[in-house]
């Protein structure tokens, strides 16, 4: 990512001490990410569009089904935004939760000119409504691609406690660009799923250092899966989102071919690496063992030297 541009007018959020993205609720993230007072919610909690399935399992509902969608402005320009609440059922996708995001993306596709920010915080599909949730993932992926085909930039911001896993990881892979913090893990199968299916020798989900250096933001940035790395602060995500909206590339057959070539090259270069540290070593990171302990600024400097974000793929 390029260095954040100095801004003449500091937004409201920065007047106070930095707010942790990881700790903040979905609603707090949206409120502080966008221009002050600009957020207008679609299908708000007062509409009570909660899950029709959870009561069958005697599970409590949430009025917004764990996601808020709406529009607002960032840096003075209009934007659509969706934010998952990772503390409600792990931010998982159910039928209503998914439909709200699909609807937002279709609106963006029809409007064409307004970018979409998706604040991922999810473990994947909500298994209590598995079929509806899986269908929702497919519909959202299609809606992302349709929006991008219409010229809309879809930017994913990942730094929540539930990370971005399962179907959320698939949707993130369809976005125009991703920003991630160290805490914001990205994957499809999560640590526990890998351990359950392949054994603890393959992946020890209790080994937090292993989980973070494999799926955490630093490795995702160095591998090229995420375009930008940010510190765990709402203000950092705001500046990075503005940068990605300005710089994210378009979408078409050429970008798909470039992405395919990037992934093939990645497999060829790193396919035999047994650990993330081996990948960093192969990439030429000086002192690869020190990467997990680096602060955000030092890491961003190293990452920008090693791997300039590619604008022609994705």
């Amino acid at each position: 990512m390029t260095a954040p541009q100095p801004q003449a007018e500091r937004p409201l959020a920065s007047r106070n001490s930095p707010v942790s993205w990881y700790e903040a609720s979905a609603r707090a993230r949206v409120r502080l990410l966008l221009d002050a007072g600009s957020f207008q919610e679609f299908i708000g909690p007062e509409m009570r569009e909660a899950s029709p399935h959870l009561r069958v399992f005697d599970l409590p509902e949430q009025f917004d089904d764990g996601i808020l969608v709406g529009r607002g402005s960032i840096g003075g320009s209009p934007v659509f935004v969706a934010a998952q609440e990772g503390r409600f059922m792990g931010g998982a996708f159910g039928e209503v939760h998914g439909a709200k995001l699909t609807g937002l993306l279709r609106a963006a596709r029809d409007v064409k000119s307004i970018p979409v920010l998706i604040l991922f915080d999810t473990g994947g599909v909500r298994l209590q409504e598995a079929n509806a949730g899986e269908l929702a993932i497919a519909e959202i992926m299609r809606a992302v691609i349709e929006a991008r085909t219409a010229g809309v930039k879809v930017i994913g911001l990942i730094g929540g406690r539930s990370g971005c896993y399962g179907g959320g990881g698939l949707i993130a892979g369809c976005c125009s660009a991703l920003a991630v913090s160290e805490q914001g893990r990205i994957g499809v199968s999560g640590p526990e799923v890998i351990e359950t299916n392949r054994g603890v020798e393959e992946f020890d989900s209790k080994d937090r250092a292993l989980v973070w250096r494999t799926m955490g933001g630093k490795n995702r940035r160095l591998l090229g899966g995420a375009d930008a790395f940010c510190d765990d602060a709402v203000q950092d995500f705001r500046e990075t989102a503005l940068d990605l909206i300005a710089t994210a590339g378009g979408f078409g057959i050429d970008s798909l071919k470039a992405e395919q070539a990037r992934l093939e090259e990645r497999l060829q270069t790193f396919g035999t690496c047994a650990d993330a540290v081996d990948i960093w070593k192969a990439e030429g990171v000086p002192d690869p063992d020190d990467v997990p302990a680096m602060d955000a600024d030092a890491f961003i400097a190293v990452a920008n030297k090693i791997r300039r974000p590619s604008r022609d793929s994705r």
């Binding site: 708000g44 909690p45 007062e46 009561r55 409590p60 509902e61 949430q62 009025f63 409600f88």
Partner: protein, 105 residues
């Protein structure tokens, strides 16, 4: 699931001009409270949906104490409960009233 509803008279109207406030999250030991300014100024209502059945008397006591302390006149407060303790419920209810009592932007 058990649903409970309590209606009380309130001494005075809740301050402020916001129509709506939402606080909390439905997670283990937590709850969300949706406050809506939809009732006459001297009434209030608390509706609860909880998976922990059989605690109606405790909810009744917490709600009565809350109405006595905060006089949430004009508010309908709807709760989705994730198994919160009574002290957490009291704090969330107070937070909801404080949040809706702010002036609308």
């Amino acid at each position: 699931m058990e649903t409970l509803s309590f209606r009380h008279a309130a001494r005075q109207r809740t301050a402020g001009s916001r129509k709506l406030a939402l606080v909390g999250v439905v997670a283990s030991g937590n709850l969300e409270v949706l406050a809506e300014r939809v009732l006459p100024d001297t009434e209030c209502q608390v509706e609860i949906s909880t998976a922990a059945e059989g605690f109606g008397a405790v909810w009744g006591a917490v709600v009565a104490d809350f109405v006595d302390r905060h006089s949430p006149g004009g508010l309908k407060l709807s709760i989705n409960d994730g198994g919160a303790r009574p002290d957490t419920v009291s704090l969330r209810l107070a937070q909801a009233v404080r949040s809706i009592a702010e002036e609308a932007r």
